[in-house]
Amino acid sequence: MTIGSTTNSLVATLRIRKKVMNEAPMMPVPTHLYLNEIPSGAHAVVHRIEAADEAMHRLMAMGLCVGRELEVVRQGNPLILRILGARIGVSSRLARHVVVTLS
């Protein structure tokens, strides 16, 4: 009985573990980074934009809005982004206000 219950609890634990592992990618893991912190070649999805000046509006009109996937072609100051197939040079001062999630 002891063995049986141990086995049962072990199986249960494993089940839970498996469930947790399956669900892990869906949980909101805090991998938020600023756009000026991610390496060249990385793809990311825009999570939040923390500025609303004229330059940022220009960038948003060029397609950088929440939910958009983009690529950092060359990190640096200024850096090069690929948004909607277009290459856009952006000051790192502006990139500091864009929070992204690596994808």
Binding site: A55, H57, R58, M62, G63, L84, I88, G89, V90, S91
Partner: protein, 661 residues
């Protein structure tokens, strides 16, 4: 105005487009090929002016009995920038149709603008440009499907080659025939908190439904080139290489037409001089009108070559990379990367450089750039530098070239320092962060470059030409009136010449003429002003005769050389043909107390003065046009004159203190 149009946008005062005929507004993203389409439609039948009360350029042309207005390049209609406000105002005035140029390579972003213009309730024709490039890149767009989704005509075109323009014309005819009221179209209703997100969700969906990717879109050439051209070090070196090539063209090719123009005007001058009796009118025509126009037009070849090269570079997509790599360096001085091309262009001439500052979006950044550009040594200063280098280091080419290097360095350093100071005082504010599209590289269009050059040359002649003409006449009058009788020595020489024949008589007569013109200038209003301001100029080491030179070269720096030739009795013609004789006379020139006029300290002081002083009215006329105010050209004149005065004062007094006389 409909409800959809007002819900997001503030009400804008409409801008009248003109009243005649069918009016078409041409809109599109920057780099969408809008200008190429405008040129393809209108050719040379264009007019360039500013929108009233602004510094935004308005280009309009005629096509098939329609007036086509080229709106500024736009991504958005939210009226944040002056360009956007003007575009909104033009569209609010209800043109009869709007052609929106959409980039096939970037459909979703183009639709972002299209959807906003559709909401303006103007009949829209979407010109789907660069279909050839899209097809090459494996992107296929279904124009019929897109037209159905948007509820407006969609015409695939290739503006560069003219493909599809007949279809575009037919679409215009359709709108024209129907005078269609704008159809109530699919609108995205993007008035929520994040209008960008909502509207983009809508355009992404439409673009997705209308586009088929036959393979992964990629522009391998652009990727490969950009690895080098946007590199922080290699990119900067490449940029200097490109600019060096442009300068080679400006200085080595421009001098051929420049010499031609020079010869043409001096030929015209002597032709008139021979055919008219000696009179004030003849003098006015030859010296004032023809001299002034020639002095201005001689810079036209440089300006044209510069604009031609810049337009080609812009068209290839390279200029965006130049601004990108220079951005970090320029930002330290408080200027955006885009200011670097004007700053380099100013080494040829400040006028095209000031006109080229239009690419700088931020008004304050642009104004600072305009204000400091004339400090950069332009080619009009070369004759002055040559003269002073010869006076400072006669027959020593090595040291003379150091004078040139020093003067150019001083000019560039002064410009960057002035920008730094202005950005922290008069025009306080952070430099706008860079947001700049790096378009794919492509072959430039010679036609676009030629039309652009033609257009800029027209602006230069119209704006600088009129003021130069007026000021040349005024300066001529200052140097001519009041008249004075010939001096006794000259009369004596003339009498002596009358008794002789042959060469000796000619020489005596020439000597008498030189004395007469020296005397006339010395006693003219300019001469009197020169004497009057001598106390102010004395601490700089200048006497009243140099003062006359400075006054006469107020409109154009290079004039000081010919004025000094007259005042020191060499004669203008001699000085032009044989500059060494001018330099010799200047070296020998003495003040009333017997000291030499052109000492090392005086020459160095004069050099610094000419590096830093404004002394160019054509530039001032262009500054007025480009800033749309009188305040800024006046400010420019005052600060540069003060800077030049203080700079010369320091140099002269320091050299004197160290025992250099």
């Amino acid at each position: 105005m409909s409800a959809t149009a007002t819900c997001c946008q503030p009400a804008e005062k409409p801008i009248a487009l003109g009243t005649k005929g069918f009016r078409i507004a041409l809109a599109g993203n920057p780099n969408s090929g809008k200008t190429t389409l405008f040129n393809a439609l209108t050719g040379l039948r264009t007019q360039t002016a500013n929108y009233p009360g602004t510094t935004v350029e308005r280009r309009a042309g005629r096509f098939n009995g329609c007036e086509v207005i080229d709106l500024p390049g736009l991504y958005d209609l939210q009226a944040m920038s002056e360009e956007e406000r003007i575009a909104v105002a033009v569209l609010t005035d209800k043109p009869d149709a709007a052609i929106v140029v959409a980039d096939s390579m970037n459909l979703s972003r183009s639709l972002f603008l299209v959807s906003q213009i559709l909401e303006k309730n103007v009949p829209v024709i979407v010109a789907l440009n660069m279909m050839d490039l899209a097809e090459d890149a494996g992107v296929q767009i279904d124009p019929g499907k897109l037209a159905a989704e948007l509820g407006c005509d969609v015409v695939p075109i290739v503006a560069r080659s003219g493909r599809g323009l007949d279809n575009l014309n037919r679409a215009i005819e359709r709108v024209k025939a129907a005078r269609l009221p704008a159809r109530p179209v699919a609108t995205c209703g993007a008035c929520s908190d994040c209008r960008f997100q909502t509207r983009y969700a809508w355009t992404d969906a439409i673009a997705g439904r209308c586009t088929q990717h036959t393979r992964e879109p990629a522009n391998k050439w652009t990727e490969r080139l950009d690895q080098y051209l946007t590199h922080p070090i290699v990119g900067v070196l490449a940029f200097f290489g490109v600019m060096l090539a442009v300068f080679f063209l400006i200085f080595h090719i421009a001098h051929i037409p420049m010499d031609l123009i020079d010869a043409l005007f001096s030929g015209l001058g002597s032709w008139i001089a021979q055919r008219m009796p000696e009179s004030d009118l003849r003098n006015l025509l030859v010296k004032g009108v023809i001299g002034g126009m020639g002095g201005m037009l001689v810079f036209l070849p440089q300006i044209c070559i510069l604009f031609f090269c810049l337009s080609l570079l812009e068209d290839t997509g390279y200029l965006a990379r130049a601004a990108f790599v220079m951005d970090r360096l320029m930002r330290r001085a408080g200027l955006p990367g885009k200011a670097f091309v004007p700053l380099l262009s100013a080494h040829a001439c400040a006028i095209p450089a000031i006109m080229a500052t239009r690419v700088i979006e931020d008004k304050r950044d642009r104004l600072v750039t305009i204000l400091v550009l004339p400090l950069v040594s332009c080619s009009a200063r070369i004759p002055v530098y040559s003269m002073l280098a010869a006076l400072l280091f006669a027959h020593d080419a090595w040291r003379a070239s150091l004078v040139f290097t020093g003067a150019y360095t001083l000019g560039l350093v002064a410009a960057i320092t002035a920008a730094f100071v202005l950005k922290r005082t008069v025009l306080k504010g952070e430099t706008r962060p860079l947001v700049l599209e790096l378009p794919g590289y492509k072959m430039p269009s010679l036609r676009t470059a030629a039309l652009m050059t033609f257009d800029r040359a027209g602006v230069f002649i119209k704006n600088a030409g009129t003021i130069i003409l007026v000021i040349s006449i005024a300066l001529w009058a200052l140097a001519t009136y009041p008249k004075s009788p010939p001096p006794p020595e000259a009369v004596a020489l003339q009498q002596q010449a009358a008794t002789l024949t042959g060469t000796p008589a000619g020489e005596l007569q020439a000597k008498a003429d030189r004395l007469i013109s020296h005397n006339a200038l010395a006693n003219s209003a300019a001469g009197r002003v020169g004497r009057w301001i001598e106390p102010v100029l004395k601490p700089l080491g200048f006497d009243w005769q140099i003062g006359i030179g400075i006054i006469s070269s107020f409109a154009a720096r290079e004039v000081i050389v010919s004025t000094l030739a007259v005042i020191y009795g060499v004669g203008e013609d001699v000085a032009e043909k044989n500059p060494d004789s001018l330099y010799d006379s200047l070296r020998k020139a003495e003040r009333s107390d017997g000291r030499k006029v052109f000492t090392t300290a005086t020459c160095a002081s004069l050099l610094v003065f000419y590096v830093l002083a404004m002394q160019c009215l054509s530039t001032q006329a262009i500054t007025r046009r480009e800033t749309n105010s009188l305040k800024w050209p006046v400010f420019q004149l005052v600060y540069m004159t003060v800077l030049a005065y203080v700079g010369s004062l320091i140099v002269y007094q320091a050299l004197r203190a160290f025992g250099v006389s």
